[in-house]
């Protein structure tokens, strides 16, 4: 059994009894990275020196008899590379930011540091979080630990792969249209997208500001609750951060689902779903019923319009957000520029990959004079309809459940060059971002050796019910205990 399969409580017990040191955990992580990351390539930057120094500090604290331990004390963490880390290279997997060293920490990093986890390094992703396969990384693709010929999903593919491969204890990712849940499903782990506004976005390099949200990727639901507990809460630095009371997510994890009402959207089992994925998810729903939940078919009639609305909104916001990458204050500046305009054009053209350019083009077009009403405004109105779909269902149901992704992880290279097909992977995750509500993906089986995810969607700021449902399912099944052979 891997050291990282121990529960957080067990690790903390062993640390308290001096049977384990934080340095052991960190060395275990670094050794695992050395032995498997050549195949997985989840990491863009490994901060051996920083991680060892942090471990020494925590071990000294223990030795000095200080028994005040943070919630995530000593746990090796991997951070998606669009979350800024002071002094530690942060690239967004873009050549444009190949040498960028932030001078400040994202709020989530300050909170992790306060919880005393240890940052091991920065994880690969699709460039600027645009993509669902990690093939859009400006540096190299990441491989799925269950079958290295397949993608890990994305855009938080490095985060999911690193956790699945046991390289870190947990990881942070970001989810704009499914970028935590889809890779979690593809890599057979747990991924939680919190309610929009629950976790501060300060220091998350913005992709689509009205959709982006940071969340945990973990081996099990309990760990997800711990990490969420550590990072959730109002932040004055993020004006969209919600002023809500943060419940105790950890103690809310019970195995009782008696009377829980689950809506099963028929649209989530429609055309394009792999029959074996469908079977695995239906089996999971039967398990939830066995645990006392009541499952009933419901309808989210605007589901099929979500994808178009999402790509318009996300690309429009991205085209605006990415205007800041101009080669003046940071980033890689093109050397052959004669004037300022040339600096912008040449630096951006050399620094951005094809998918990023495509989305900037799409968003700029949609926002350009004469097209705003037809595209962006229309998409925002459709967004209202999609949100209302969920509002109606949540009047009568506690959660909504279905597949996270219609298919298991595809092969590397299989969908390159066909952006529309690639976008279809996100069809079941993006409505959640448009509505701003929380959702989790938990492992619910394997199809041809590749993991399948069960998605549980909840009401805004009702992470406790989402986590509890996922936890009860997980405790009653063995799926989350399976590990890829590497």
């Amino acid at each position: 059994m891997s050291l990282f399969d121990l529960r957080i409580q067990e690790i903390h017990n062993r640390l308290a009894h001096k049977e384990l040191a934080v340095s052991d955990l960190v060395e275990y992580s670094l050794e695992r990275i050395r032995s498997v990351d050549g195949k997985i390539r989840a990491f863009l930057t490994v901060d051996e020196e920083g991680a060892r120094a942090a471990a020494r500090t925590l071990d000294n604290q223990m030795r000095d008899g200080d028994n005040e331990r943070g919630l995530l004390f000593g746990l090796p963490a991997g951070i998606k590379d669009n979350i800024v880390t002071q002094g530690l290279r942060t690239t967004c997997a873009s050549k444009f930011l190949a040498n960028y060293r932030p001078i400040y920490n994202a709020t989530v990093m300050d909170r992790l540091n306060r919880s005393q986890s240890v940052t091991i390094g920065k994880l690969n992703m699709d460039e600027f979080a645009m993509g669902g396969s990690n093939e859009n990384s400006g540096f190299h693709p990441t491989h799925n630990p269950w079958n290295t010929n397949h993608v890990p999903g994305g855009s938080s593919g490095g985060s999911a792969a690193a956790v699945a491969a046991g390289e870190v204890y947990f990881a942070l990712g970001s989810d704009t249209g499914g970028s935590i849940r889809q890779p979690a499903a593809y890599c057979g782990i747990v991924g939680l997208k919190p309610t929009y506004g629950l976790v501060s976005r300060f220091g998350l390099v913005a992709f689509a500001s009205s959709l982006d949200q940071i969340g945990p990727l973990t081996k099990n639901v309990e760990d997800a609750a711990y990490v969420l507990q550590a990072i959730a809460g109002h932040d004055p630095q993020d004006s969209t951060s919600a002023k809500v009371d943060i419940p105790d997510y950890i103690s809310a994890l019970t195995e009782d689902l008696q009377g829980l009402r689950i809506g099963i959207p028929k649209e989530y089992f429609g055309e394009g779903i792999d029959p074996q994925v469908k079977e695995a998810v239906l089996a999971a729903l039967r398990e939830l019923e066995r645990l006392g939940a009541v499952c009933e078919e419901v309808s989210l009639p605007h589901t099929k319009y979500a994808l178009a609305a999402y790509y318009l909104i996300a690309s429009s916001e991205a085209s605006s957000n990415l205007a800041r990458f101009d080669g003046v204050r940071y980033g890689v500046r093109a050397e052959d520029a004669d004037n300022l305009l040339d600096v912008y054009r040449k630096s951006r053209s050399a620094g951005f990959g094809p998918e990023v350019k495509r989305r900037i083009m799409l968003g700029t077009y949609a926002l350009s004079s004469g097209y705003y009403d037809a595209y962006y405004l229309k998409a925002q109105k459709v967004r209202t309809l999609i949100k209302q779909d969920f509002d109606h269902i949540f009047e009568r149901y506690d959660v909504i459940a279905g597949p996270t992704v219609p298919t298991p992880a595809f092969r590397i290279g299989e969908q390159v060059g066909d952006p529309l097909t690639m976008y279809l992977n996100d069809i079941l995750t993006i409505p959640v971002n448009l509505a701003g509500i929380p959702a989790i993906s938990v492992p619910c089986g394997l199809v041809n050796g590749l993991p399948v995810g069960l998605q549980i969607i909840g009401k805004a700021f009702d992470e406790t019910t989402v986590l509890r449902t996922a936890y009860a399912f997980e405790q009653a099944t063995e799926h989350h205990k399976r590990r890829p052979q590497l």
């Binding site: 001078i103 919600a242 318009l312 085209s319 004037n339 600096v343 077009y365």
Partner: protein, 95 residues
């Protein structure tokens, strides 16, 4: 609505991107396919629907207008591709 290579050139200029001939051709094809996919939104009557730009209800977020320390200059310039006398340096802005 269908877009031409000329439209792509115009949008690229707005976005401050320099595209190769190959990229222009590829983006014209791909953007047309994507925009055609977006057409399906027109099946929906949204005449009386209010747009959603923000999902959680919140009013303007204000703070006290007090002086706060900002980043030290040497820190701010740490990632600058080029600098001179404590300022970001760029090539000529005007001819």
């Amino acid at each position: 609505m269908s877009i031409s290579v000329k439209d792509v050139e115009y949008v690229a200029d707005l976005a401050r991107l320099e595209l190769s001939e190959e990229e222009k051709k590829e983006f014209t094809e791909q953007l047309n396919a994507i925009l055609q996919y977006f057409e399906q939104l027109n099946e929906l009557d949204t005449e009386d629907v209010k747009p959603t730009s923000h999902v959680i209800r919140m009013a303007n977020v204000l703070r006290e207008d007090v002086v706060r320390p900002s980043w030290p200059l040497d820190q701010v310039l740490l990632n600058a591709p080029d600098e001179e006398e404590g300022q970001f340096k760029v090539p000529a802005v005007m001819e």
